[in-house]
């Protein structure tokens, strides 16, 4: 692999929607635990769409962490490569950013600047309907495996990551320092103060489900 090969590891998703934040939390953890050579960049892409085009069209290898709905058992990891990636992302739209990202890939293709190699490391969410919430434990527990997959993808191109002797402190996150995991989780007001169900109250069917669950808990 030539020295100048450009690599981008991108985490996308919305931190505010529970497991939707998987991509961002995964790339944040990868950066915390590993150091990479200069040709590898790690990025918190958040919910951005076209703003990511610049990054995507200027890389040779793209690795994307994201929460994707493939109808798998909750918290299952799903890997896809190259031409399978966009179609895979298109399996079902679940969130605001996702159409956006698919469209970014289509647009990069239109410009003739799709990365040569495309990898998707996705997770089937356990819970999305928790606005202001964090990753569910099962999804959080998949981050190390997701990272191993990313490292294996990069190793195929001769790119070695160095495990940091001391993980970076939270304040040095590549994501948002006002929303680092501990602060995001610990400072969350309780349910009495801040409503959480959001969508559950919106979708009549979901509302019925919640009512049934609450009934069951009593």
């Amino acid at each position: 692999m030539r020295q100048s090969t450009r690599v981008l590891v991108l985490g996308i998703g919305n931190l505010l929607w529970a497991d939707e934040g998987f991509g961002v939390r995964a790339v944040e953890a990868l950066n915390r635990d590993y150091a990479f050579p200069d040709n590898v960049r790690l990025l918190d892409g958040g919910t951005q769409g076209l703003y990511l085009l610049d990054h995507i069209t200027s890389t040779d290898i793209l690795v994307v962490f994201d929460a994707v709905d493939y109808g798998l058992p909750p918290a299952t990891l799903k890997l896809a490569e190259n031409e399978d990636v966009p179609q895979f992302l298109g399996a079902k739209k679940m969130s605001l950013h996702q159409t956006g990202f698919q469209e970014v890939l289509a647009t990069a293709n239109l410009l003739g600047k799709l990365p040569e190699h495309l990898f998707l490391i996705g997770v089937q969410p356990v819970e999305l309907e928790d606005y202001g919430g964090s990753l569910r434990d099962e999804v959080k527990a998949q981050i190390p495996a997701a990272i191993d997959h990313a490292l294996a993808c990069l190793a195929r191109f001769g790119i070695d990551a160095q495990r940091r002797e001391t993980p970076l402190p939270e304040a040095e996150t590549i994501a948002c320092e006002r929303m680092v995991l501990s602060r995001y989780e610990d400072e969350r007001p309780d349910e009495e103060d801040a409503c959480r169900v959001g969508d559950d109250r919106v979708l009549a069917m979901a509302a019925t489900r919640v009512a049934a669950e609450r009934e069951g808990q009593r």
């Binding site: 919305n14 931190l15 505010l16 990025l43 918190d44 892409g45 958040g46 919910t47 951005q48 769409g49 076209l50 703003y51 990511l52 085009l53 610049d54 069209t57 298109g90 399996a91 079902k92 739209k93 679940m94 969130s95 605001l96 950013h97 159409t99 956006g100 469209e103 289509a106 647009t107 293709n109 239109l110 410009l111 003739g112 606005y131 202001g132 948002c176 320092e177 006002r178 929303m179 602060r183 400072e187 969350r188 007001p189 309780d190 103060d193 801040a194 409503c195 959480r196 959001g198 969508d199 109250r201 919106v202 979708l203 009549a204 069917m205 509302a207």
Partner: protein
């Protein structure tokens, strides 16, 4: 209802066949639109429904006010920076924090960068396909396209026949491969498309150029915001450090970086003036007979204003983007706007899926309540989970109905340009006069879908030029020895009063944006956002006044009821963004605009 007259001067008639567009595509977020068309295919009733529930306010409750910007900028992928800026301004207002001059300048440059970028991206990537037909571009003669290019924009270097032939071939390959990508879901045989093939090829070529170019503009934001795509913000100023003699590779702002900013600004001005504006005029020439879509713009428009020339002075005199309200189409009087006055801005919910204790009354955002209440009217066709026709006589949207002194208002670039024009703003008047003269149309032509689209382009040019003004100001200030970028005197919550409230505002690319905050014992007690699409996409109110989207669709003639080209064209001209005006509800992955005619 058969025929009713609204207090704000529109006639609604829902007796004709109903056309449902759900979801409306090429917008951010989820939206549904229903119209009734008469026997001549003219829209006589329009109903705009935000199909997502907005829950931002409730997740901010109890959080640290200094973190609110970070949450608000993660709502969606479009005006991230605008929400963050509005949020830090609201907190600073509440805590009476003054920011340094440099912070004000840098924030202005970042906001202008966003406006320039957003307008350009909107025109080419979200809106152009309502006017431009990429399939027709395949039939264009590259030589004639080159001649057209040289005629409409003599200074743009990319104009050779070979260049256009290359693009055409690339497009052909793309279309033949069956992966239409951004061009899928078009109504490419609809007679509503009026451009000749050469104009289509020119515009599609610039679509690609703009895709490439837009990536440069945002680098300005990365330089000042330190991070991309989510820049950093700070209550009390900006997180950037200025060290003008500092080394090239440092993260602080030095001369090398400012020169880079200068170069991007110049390229942006060039691109807007040599590509965007000429394209706008070229497209408008062919569509100037299509002056539908004015809606509220000739009656009621509102702008909070933005881009303070002097730090901490948010008065109309200091704001370079005009502030004010016009009602009943009287351009001779521009009213002052007070975001604190409990009787000016109020939100109503009689037709929104929220509950108030007394729904006859509106609530000022400081006293705002966001309590969902999903109820459907008796005339609904379909079921709760599969709505075929909404009942607009009852609650029908997740968007609240904001009103200014009881009036439904249009916000956005056209509103700002009408207000600027009415106030005699020199730059705005010059720009508008030139466009009206070039197209040979009267001032009244502005009050249209096309006028809205033109105002956005002119504002893009204005914003790009203003970046240059503020960069000069920053360099002069720094050279005079002022390098302060943040005031951290009130950073510690123990220094705050027990209870305070504040309001922050900006002009987001798509219109007036306000955040109202109440802080109690160092935590957020109440947080309410009234976003531009809440104004424009507003449902009806107690009096029956209709909002800007609904008003703009009325009386439009559609070519084919089952192909909503005209509906999309007018809705897109507002650059709707529903991610923050509402919240996710749509349950599946329909990406095509699905149209049902019954």
């Amino acid at each position: 209802m058969a025929t009713i007259s609204t207090p704000n001067g529109f006639t609604l008639d829902n007796s004709g066949k109903r056309v449902v567009v759900d979801p409306v595509t090429r917008i951010e977020g989820h939206m549904r639109c229903e119209v009734n068309v008469d026997d001549d295919n003219v829209i006589r009733n329009a109903v705009s429904t935000g199909t997502m529930w907005r829950g931002l306010e409730v997740i901010l409750k109890g959080r640290d006010p200094r973190d609110a910007w970070a949450f608000t900028q993660r709502i969606c992928g479009v005006c991230t920076g605008t929400h963050a800026l509005t949020s830090v301004r609201a907190v600073e207002d509440a805590l009476k924090i003054d920011i340094p001059e440099n912070a004000n300048i840098i924030r202005n440059i970042m906001q202008l960068t966003l406006q320039t970028h957003d307008h350009l991206v909107h025109f080419y990537h979200l809106h152009a396909l309502d006017w431009v037909n990429p399939v027709s571009a395949l039939k264009a003669d590259p030589v004639a396209t080159s001649e057209l290019q040289k005629k409409v924009s003599p200074h743009h270097p990319k104009s050779s026949p070979g260049y256009f032939r290359d693009v055409q071939n690339r497009l052909k390959k793309f279309v033949e491969s069956g992966q239409l990508g951004p061009f899928k879901n078009g109504y490419w045989s609809n007679p509503a498309y009026l451009l000749p093939p050469e104009a289509n090829l020119m515009a599609v070529t610039h679509y690609l150029e703009a895709l490439d170019f837009q990536t440069h503009i945002m680098r300005i934001r990365t330089i000042f915001g330190g991070k991309d795509p989510h820049p950093n913000w700070l209550v009390g100023g900006v997180p950037s450090v200025i060290n003008i003699e500092g080394p090239g590779a440092s993260t602080s702002i030095n001369m090398e970086r400012l020169n880079m900013v200068r170069s991007i600004i110049n390229q942006s001005i060039e691109f807007v003036e040599n590509v965007y504006i000429p394209d706008l005029l070229a497209v408008a020439q062919f569509y100037k007979g299509w002056l539908y879509g004015g809606g509220l713009s000739s009656k009621n428009v509102l702008s909070y204003g933005d881009i303070p020339d002097r730090a901490n002075d948010y008065s109309a005199e200091s704001l370079l983007q005009p502030r004010g309200a016009i009602i009943n189409g009287n351009l001779k009087e521009v009213f002052p706007v007070d975001l604190r006055d409990p009787n000016e801005i109020q939100e109503f919910v009689p037709h929104s899926w929220y509950a108030y204790a007394d729904e006859k009354k509106g609530l000022h955002p400081w006293d705002g309540v966001t309590e969902p209440n999903f109820k459907l009217g008796p005339n609904l066709v379909g079921t709760r989970t599969n709505i075929k026709e909404i009942d607009e006589s009852a609650k029908y949207s997740w968007i609240k109905a904001p009103r200014w002194k009881g009036h439904a208002m249009e916000v956005g670039p056209l509103a700002r340009y009408v207000i600027g024009y009415a106030k005699g703003d020199k730059e705005i008047t010059e720009q508008l006069t030139l466009v009206l003269k070039t197209l040979d149309v009267p001032v009244s032509a502005l009050f249209s879908t096309l006028g809205r689209t033109a105002a956005r382009g002119l504002e893009c040019q204005w914003a790009a030029r203003k970046m240059s003004y503020f960069l000069d100001k920053l360099i002069a200030n720094v050279k005079a020895g002022d390098t302060a970028t943040a005031n951290t005197a009130s950073w510690d919550p123990s220094t705050w009063p027990a209870e305070v409230k504040g309001v922050g505002f900006t002009e987001a690319p798509r219109g007036a944006l306000g955040h109202w905050i109440k802080i109690k014992n160092g935590k957020i007690e109440n947080y309410q956002c009234v976003v531009p699409t809440t104004w424009n996409g507003s449902p009806r109110d107690n009096e029956g006044n209709i909002g800007a989207f609904e008003a703009a669709l009325l009386n439009t003639k559609v070519e084919r009821a089952e192909e909503p080209v005209e509906i999309l064209r007018t809705l897109h001209s507002f650059d709707p963004c529903l991610a923050c005006s509402t919240h996710v509800m749509s349950e599946d992955g329909r990406e095509l605009a699905e149209v049902t005619v019954r």
